[in-house]
């Protein structure tokens, strides 16, 4: 019964916060309306959310997000510098990252993370979901890049969303 009334415990507060940001006010009425929407929308869109999202280690997730924000900043400075320095000096390349993640959520989060950080864009996922092809703007050592992606991003995501 609990499952029916509140199918996605994480979605409800998220939707409430989004509603409050959207109306840009913190009045009691809007909090109530936001909670109502956050309760009703997950129920009505139940079919679009087949899997329940479970966060297993919130602290690891928090650390991951902080690392990600820092990396986005540094990556942007790096990419900006490469662009300003001119197209002649960049050494682009494709690298293949073998995936240890299995769930759809984990893979999409990893792909998005890769696209946001160090001069890399996730370009193609193999149909069997075993390999992610990544395009890097400036790559000297493809293996080092793959190792960085794996231990910096994939391992924490795996710990948070897919514990064994």
């Amino acid at each position: 019964m609990k499952l029916r009334l509140l199918p996605h415990p994480l979605l409800t507060p998220a939707l409430t916060v989004i509603w409050l940001l959207l109306v840009n006010s913190l009045s009691f009425g809007h909090v109530l309306l936001g909670l109502l929407l956050g309760w009703l929308i997950p129920i009505f869109t139940l079919r679009f959310w087949p899997d329940r999202v479970r966060v297993h280690k919130p602290l690891t997730l928090l650390r991951f997000v902080l690392v990600l924000l820092y990396d986005i900043l540094v990556a942007n400075l790096g990419v900006a510098w490469l662009i300003v320095r001119g197209p002649r000096r960049v050494k682009p390349g494709f690298v293949e990252v073998p995936l240890a993640l299995r769930s759809e959520l984990g893979i999409s989060l990893l792909a998005n993370t890769i696209s946001l950080t160090p001069g890399t864009v996730s370009a193609w996922l193999s149909p069997d979901r075993a390999t992610l092809v990544v395009h890097a703007l400036d790559v000297d050592d493809p293996e080092a890049l793959v190792a960085t992606i794996k231990h910096r991003y994939e391992t924490p995501l795996q710990e948070v969303f897919e514990p064994c």
């Binding site: 989004i18 940001l21 959207l22 109306v23 840009n24 006010s25 913190l26 986005i72 900043l73 990556a75 942007n76 990419v79 900006a80 662009i83 300003v84 001119g86 197209p87 960049v90 682009p92 390349g93 494709f94 293949e96 792909a111 998005n112 993370t113 890769i114 696209s115 946001l116 001069g119 864009v121 996730s122 370009a123 193609w124 193999s126 149909p127 390999t131 092809v133 395009h135 703007l137």
Partner: protein
Amino acid sequence: MLEIILSALILIGALFTFIGSLGLARLEDFYTRLHGPTKATTLGVGSLLIASMVYFSTRGEGLSLHELLVTLFLFITAPVSAHLLAKAALHLRLRSIAPVPQRTEASDPRQANAAEDSATPPQG
């Protein structure tokens, strides 16, 4: 003091927006061009939005946080559109400076069919 921070944020944001678009115009193949707009521009607009958030929150009309929503939205959607664009480019086999891995080309039979379909412009 506040004005200095605001000005700095605005200038940094505009500069990054410009550099992202500069990369789009300047780099040599599609895959490298993809990096400019998806990264630099996203950070640039993010910085501008933070500046706007600070500006409207300190005018004394209460907190203004809905810029956060636009920032969040851009940060979620930019990688998705970049991924789709890269996938479309690989599908169309665009010229690339870097060697393209063989497996990405029509290893999926459904995509191979789609490739043949799109060789002739679809009707309607």
